[in-house]
């Protein structure tokens, strides 16, 4: 089982347009101007005409004019008249006067069920057939395709959006997110850099720095970004991601003091992304504890879920993980997190369901496949788990998955009734973890080996349990996950000692193909 936490960048979030709008991430506000004398004159003329003629069409003219200028008093005058004299008034005018819109407000796609999503799919495509230049609809369509795992169509729709509205912040940030998701950092950067506001818009500067960093490219706008970050005319909220992106850059360069200073600045007007970044940074460099107010930022699910996990609050961690997943349904991180915690507390059904869904948006992702194979193996769905692992490159030795894949294979061997091979796989995982300096994963590999030995009632079970628990005891105080798995092993050990009947698995015939590869 795997939970990647190595790197994190303030990559733009990709939500639907209405939600992004509501979160205030598309604002570019300036002080409102008072109504000009020319506009006042125009409205005064309309009011005079309306009072002179007192009919619905003069009221309609006044309402339109006053509404456009923002003269609510005159608009109300016309509105009241129209609603009190509806005879002969066009239906559209009555709707407008009563504030009822015929236009449908789009639903939050992430919260919709599959058939409802299909309905929205149809609506968007119908609208696009008559509004082919609507870049926002192309982005929404791309997001739907992305959720389906149809990356070719998602990219095509996003390219259309980016070409139609190359300067729009929502479009540019969404496009950058998608191209990074598709591991095409250069295109993501190209789209950001060609936007008209790329060198002045703090949201685009933040995206450029974060995307460059995440894709291993040099940022071109770090200096401009640093200057903009000091501009007091920009609101703390508007520059929160910029401060955070600059802080991450400083952290990567080893300047932790400056990084902490910038991270604290990012919390002056945070959004959930900058809060999550600080929570992550705190785990790396410390000195950045989040207070409750930071966690009350709307949609701050990621940071809260991670804090729940650290505190060993498993059920809240799953609940917040679910919220995070609903907020970012195509992203693998929340799926990985929530499935990891669900598997940890042995809620494998939830874990399987999350991972299956996420794999449709992230096909062939090794971390997701590994976690799904682990969950499936844990509930004895061995055929499917085996076929999943067959897709993996088990010879890869540098990544975190090089630890977890042999461990998961070990689990399958145990469940197939081949403890010898299983043991060798778990030992391989522990050795690789030690080689990578990952003590936590070495301990977890030993703990899960002990669990499987106990479940298989092998003669070496006691030895494996002792070894695992001794190692776990060194980490239990600081790591709740290790402590939790150790507690599970202890419980199993006690059950074994009390001679209660253990689940018996008959040995299966034949070695699964993946396992053959590993053994071979």
């Amino acid at each position: 089982m795997l939970l990647e936490q190595k790197d994190r960048h303030v990559i733009p979030r990709w939500r639907d347009f209405r939600t992004t709008l509501e979160l205030g991430e598309l604002e570019n506000a300036r002080a409102p101007e008072p109504i000009s004398s020319d506009d006042k004159e125009a409205i005064a003329r309309r009011v005079e005409e309306f009072e002179a003629y007192g009919d619905i069409w003069h009221a309609a003219d006044l309402l339109s004019s006053a509404f456009v200028i923002g003269d609510s008093e005159s608009a109300d005058l016309a509105r009241k008249f129209i609603l009190a004299n509806q005879k002969g008034a066009p239906k559209g005018l009555l709707h407008f006067a009563s504030g009822i819109s015929n236009g449908e407000v789009p639903d939050d796609l992430s919260t919709l069920k599959k058939d409802e999503r299909q309905r929205i799919f149809h609506q968007i495509r119908t609208r696009l057939s008559s509004e082919p230049r609507n870049a926002i609809l192309w982005v929404e369509l791309s997001r739907l395709y992305s959720l389906q795992g149809n990356s070719r169509r998602a990219l095509r729709a996003m390219i259309a959006a980016a070409n139609l509205a190359p300067d729009n912040r929502f479009v540019v940030r969404s496009a950058a997110r998608l191209f990074l998701h598709e591991r095409d950092g250069p295109t993501a950067l190209k789209i950001i850099r060609r936007a008209a506001g790329a060198k002045r818009d703090p949201w685009l500067l933040a995206a450029e720095i974060a995307v460059a960093s995440a894709s291993g490219k040099a940022t071109l706008f770090a200096k401009i970004g640093a200057n903009r970050n000091e501009d007091n005319n920009i609101s703390p909220f508007a520059r929160t991601e910029l401060s955070s992106a600059l802080a991450t850059l400083e952290m990567e360069n080893g300047k932790t003091r400056k990084a902490r200073q910038l991270f604290r600045q990012s919390l002056e007007g945070p959004n959930e992304n900058s809060v999550a970044q600080v929570e992550w940074a705190n785990r790396q460099i410390g000195g950045l504890e989040l207070d409750k107010s930071a966690l009350s930022v709307p949609r701050s699910f990621e940071a809260t879920a991670n804090l729940n996990l650290i505190a060993g609050e498993w059920n809240p961690a799953v609940a917040h993980g679910m919220e995070w997943l609903r907020d970012q349904p195509f992203s693998k991180r929340p799926a990985l997190f929530t499935s990891y915690v669900s598997s940890l507390i042995e809620d494998y059904e939830t874990s399987i369901s999350i991972l299956r869904q996420s794999l449709s948006a992230n096909p062939d992702d090794p971390s997701l496949i590994n976690n799904l194979a682990f969950a499936l193996g844990s509930v004895d769905q061995l055929e499917e788990a085996d076929s999943l692992l067959r897709k993996m490159d088990l010879t890869e030795t540098s990544q975190l998955s090089s630890i977890t894949l042999p461990a998961t294979t070990g689990l399958l061997f145990f469940r197939w009734g081949l403890p010898e091979f299983g043991r060798r796989m778990y030992e391989l995982a522990a050795t690789r973890a030690a080689r990578q300096g990952n003590i936590k994963y070495r301990t977890l590999a030993r703990l899960y080996l002990a669990r499987e030995e106990l479940l298989a009632s092998t003669p070496t079970a006691e030895m494996a349990v002792n070894l695992a628990l001794v190692e776990a005891s060194k980490r239990e105080d600081e790591d709740k996950e290790v402590a939790f798995v150790a507690a599970q092993v202890r419980k199993l050990e006690e059950a074994a000692k009390s001679d209660r009947p253990q689940p018996q698995r008959p040995p299966r015939i034949g070695i699964p193909s993946v396992s053959k590869t590993m053994v071979g």
């Binding site: 003219d61 339109s64 300067d167």
Partner: protein
């Protein structure tokens, strides 16, 4: 008071909607030989008042008034010479000495008499009169097309500037905000020459295109589309669009450029277009008018107008296709080919 040409000034009309000099022009009803007409007078004695309002010195204000008067008078003469029969005609121009001294002279223009603007006529119908509306739209399109043919952009088309003559004839009025290509027009320096409450979105958001066509003629094209929405929904297209723009993205508080907000305006435009088409009676008419309005009111002036006009060397803002369209629709409505429900 009787003018030298024999017109008798009978009564003052309170404030002329729009018009040269705004509040500094007055309108009167005049009569001669049983004919009634409208007189628009420019009162130079109010130059001082205007200077205060404009924040300029008296001489500049006076010069502005003179320029505006001369511009409109010359333009109207030009329209008359070119026989623009869907643009309001000036019957006469001249001046009269009402007080002694230079500032006592009042310059005037006498216009052919109208029955009122479209709002008054629409109020006479108990329900939407599709034939009348389509005919009126045809006349407006012809009027604007006649102006465009003379390289004139009206820039201030709105319900109060479409006058109705007899029952079935409509004309475009008030050339005070017009711009003539290749010459300096009095309002060329204005961010928006006409009534801002009817301005297309790009001008509200401060996007000033140096190209005369994209800035001036494209505005007329938008205004024609907005007249369509006003006739069928009672709401201008600008109001319909802004009703679907997030409050913090409205032009009054938007701190970015138009190109940065255009995608959102276009999305709001799509919803507005749907609302508009829901108000058009009859499937056939709905489909045709929706398409026309989507072209006429496109939020991007570079894509406004008929798509076929953007091929080759055609004027992208030519209204000829819409003249034909509204004429065709009127004919079909008259003979009852367009279904009503």
């Amino acid at each position: 008071m009787t003018l030298s040409s024999g017109w008798l000034v009978t009564e003052e009309i309170p404030r002329l909607p729009g018009g040269t000099g705004g509040y500094f022009s007055c309108a009167y009803k005049v009569q001669k030989g049983g004919k009634t007409a409208f007189l628009k007078a420019l009162d130079f004695s109010k130059a001082g008042e205007m200077a205060v309002a404009m924040g300029v010195d008296n001489l500049t204000a006076l010069q502005s008034l003179v320029n505006a008067y001369q511009f409109e008078r010359n333009l109207l003469q030009d329209c008359k010479q070119k026989r623009m029969d869907r643009v309001i005609m000036a019957l006469e121009d001249g001046s009269i000495q009402v007080d002694p001294g230079l500032f006592g002279e009042v310059f005037y223009l006498i216009f052919e008499p109208a029955d009122g603007d479209v709002r008054r006529h629409l109020a006479l119908f108990e329900q939407l009169n599709v034939v009348w509306i389509l005919r009126c739209l045809h006349h407006i399109a012809v009027g604007l097309n006649q102006l465009h043919s003379a390289k004139v952009a009206h820039q201030d088309l709105k319900p109060s500037n479409v006058l109705v003559f007899e029952a079935n004839l409509s004309k475009v009025a008030d050339l005070g905000s017009a711009s003539v290509q290749g010459t300096v027009s009095p309002r060329d320096d204005y961010k928006f020459a006409g009534d801002r409450t009817y301005a297309p979105p790009e001008l509200l958001y401060g996007s000033i295109d140096p190209d005369w066509g994209r800035r001036r003629q494209a505005t007329d094209v938008y205004h024609l589309g907005s007249m369509v929405t006003f006739f069928f929904c009672g709401v201008s297209m600008t109001a319909m669009i802004l009703a679907h723009v997030a409050p913090n993205h409205l032009y009054t508080v938007w701190g970015g450029t138009y190109s940065e907000v255009l995608a959102e305006i276009r999305d709001a435009f799509g919803v507005a277009l749907e609302e508009f088409s829901n108000n058009v009676p009859g499937e056939q008419l709905r489909k045709v008018l929706r398409e026309a309005v989507s072209q006429l009111c496109d939020p991007d002036p570079a894509h406004r107008g008929h798509p076929s006009n953007r091929q080759g060397f055609a004027n992208p803002y030519s209204l000829e296709r819409y003249v034909s369209l509204f004429n065709r629709l009127t004919q079909r409505a008259v003979i009852g080919i367009l279904e009503k429900k």
